[in-house]
């Protein structure tokens, strides 16, 4: 593995970028398959389990397994969406109609650059986070780019020149901006905590993980235990920001047909869903980093401790791969939670969505911020940190 570090830095960078893209796309794609399997599992039915090409069926074990998993349904769906007629209805505003799905992809993919996905423990016991753009404003970057997603919905709704998409678009914009406030306010206590005395201030997500892997009772505690209210608000706002059930307002198919994408078809339609799933993946990753300890295997057990237990201290690359796997495991578990909620809770009504956002989550997150400001300020004043 040493040869990797002898390559020119920009080659390393390009390889890292490629690796991240090669992981994110399959996860986002497999989500649509997992969605159907999870829904089938929750509703106690087999789900997609039939399609298989005949020359694949003769492979023992793997063939039937992929068939039961419904993997070929995913491929067939992708092929269908790519090759079916791409209609451009006569009444739409063509330029913005085509632009909207492109705009949807930009925040979905570019936020990945700010998300650390593992750690490399060097020989000198220094933890180097694996991250593409290691900047101090990591979280701010994720929020800034992710909130651009609202433009694609409002553009799609407006450019469709049709009633249902328009209503879906305005609903979406009002919902997304409402929950953004609570989301930002809910993560502030985390950054109050990690910007401890004697350190330069930072909004970096890698720093958050570093603070969840320290020795001691409070040091090793995941923020989901230290700040449960923040974690709850962040999770609820994340559901709303990614348009997942029970906040499925923009595309509530019961009252708005398909919401903002009613007039879309074939591949332009599917781009919205690739964007939604990669949004969900990145959102789960940020949640895992902020509140679930990032790549630390268990609360109070940091990655280095695990490396010590498994006698991996001399093998930084193995430990690095292990950290990435732990992190991906947490992200997948969090995505499963998204699907679980989707198939368990009914959808809220629009007035309920607005009430929850403005009258319940926002006051709760402000109160949460004030309480944690006082507690952390008090702890620093009396010298407990």
């Amino acid at each position: 593995m040493d040869f990797f570090f002898e390559l020119p830095l920009w080659v390393q960078a390009a390889l890292k970028g490629l690796a991240v893209i090669a992981v994110i796309f399959p996860i986002a794609g497999a989500c649509s398959m997992a969605e159907r399997k999870v829904s089938a599992w929750i509703q106690d039915r087999p789900g997609p389990s039939r399609a298989i090409p005949p020359w694949f069926a003769i492979i023992p074990i793997i063939g039937p397994f992929l068939q039961r998993l419904g993997a070929f349904h995913l491929l067939a769906d992708g092929g269908k969406l790519l090759f079916k007629e791409d209609p451009l209805p006569g009444h739409v505003n063509k330029f913005y109609f085509v632009m909207a799905p492109l705009v949807a992809m930009i925040p979905a993919l570019s936020t990945v650059a700010f998300v650390p996905f593992g750690a490399y423990v060097s020989e000198a016991k220094q933890v180097v986070p694996l991250i593409l753009a290691n900047v101090d404003v990591g979280l701010l970057g994720v929020f800034a780019l992710a909130s651009l997603g609202v433009y694609s919905l409002i553009l799609a709704g407006w450019a469709s020149n049709s009633k249902y998409p328009f209503l879906g678009g305005v609903r979406a914009s009002a919902q997304l901006i409402s929950y953004e406030l609570s989301m930002t306010l809910s993560v502030l206590p985390v950054f109050l905590w990690i910007n401890a005395p004697g350190q330069s201030g930072s909004l970096s997500l890698a720093r958050v993980v570093e603070y969840q892997s320290q020795p001691g009772f409070l040091g090793g505690m995941w923020f989901v235990f230290l700040m449960p209210v923040s974690a709850f608000i962040f999770l609820v706002a994340l559901f709303a920001e990614t348009n997942r059930q029970p906040f499925d307002m923009p595309e509530s198919e019961a009252d708005l047909v398909g919401g903002f994408h009613t007039e879309y078809g074939s591949f332009k339609w599917s781009l919205f869903f690739v964007a939604e799933y990669s949004h969900m993946t990145v959102g789960s990753a940020v949640f895992a980093l902020l509140f679930l300890g990032g790549w630390n295997p268990l609360p109070w057990v940091s990655l280095q401790t695990l490396g010590g237990w498994l006698h991996l201290t001399g093998h930084p690359v193995v430990l690095g791969i292990l950290s990435v796997l732990i992190f991906i495991g947490k992200v997948l578990a969090s995505i499963f939670f998204f699907m679980w909620v989707r198939w368990t809770l009914p959808r809220f009504r629009y007035d309920q969505v607005m009430r929850i956002g403005w009258k319940q989550l926002l006051p709760l997150s402000i109160l949460n911020l004030i309480v944690y400001t006082c507690i952390i300020g008090g702890m620093e004043y009396f010298g407990h940190r």
């Binding site: 020119p8 830095l9 920009w10 960078a13 970028g17 893209i21 790519l82 007629e85 209805p89 009444h91 085509v98 492109l102 992809m105 930009i106 993919l109 570019s110 650059a113 753009a133 290691n134 970057g141 020149n161 049709s162 009633k163 249902y164 328009f166 209503l167 305005v170 609903r171 009002a174 901006i177 953004e180 406030l181 930002t184 306010l185 502030l188 950054f191 910007n195 401890a196 005395p197 201030g201 930072s202 909004l203 047909v257 009613t262 007039e263 074939s266 591949f267 781009l271 629009y350 009430r355 403005w358 009258k359 926002l362 006051p363 402000i366 911020l369 004030i370 400001t373 006082c374 300020g377």
Partner: protein, 123 residues
């Protein structure tokens, strides 16, 4: 040469633009080669649950959406000021902390005002 951290952002933005463009052009090429266009008035019509569309598609919508957007704008700017506060929290004196709590109370006051005026009620 160490790449600038924001170079990755540029790279991912480029990929995010290129990926859908490539896919859409593949489906366009397929369209040109193998799919004769068969437009019809029904296919090109506005979708309204299978019925003939009525009236203008630019419908009136509730002014409430605007109210929420305006309230959001005010709150968002205030929340932005809280982010530097969180970063600079390391070296703040007790007086600065108190000043920041007053600032948060101003934010609460705005919320209470909008609540009291009924702007947050969805009617």
């Amino acid at each position: 040469m160490t790449p600038h951290p924001y170079a990755f952002l540029a790279l991912f933005l480029a990929v995010a633009v290129a990926f859908p463009l490539v896919m859409l052009s593949v489906s366009r090429v397929w369209f040109w080669l193998f799919q004769p266009p068969k437009p019809s008035t029904i296919k090109n019509g506005i979708y309204e649950c299978g019925l003939a569309p009525t009236g203008d598609s630019r419908i009136q919508f509730k002014a409430h959406y605007y109210l929420y957007a305006i309230v959001f704008l005010i709150f968002d700017v205030e929340v932005l000021f809280l982010l530097p506060f969180a970063v600079a929290f390391t070296g703040l004196s007790a007086g600065a902390l108190f000043a920041m709590l007053v600032f948060i109370l101003l934010l609460v006051e705005g919320l209470v005002w909008a609540w009291h005026r009924g702007h947050l009620n969805w009617k």
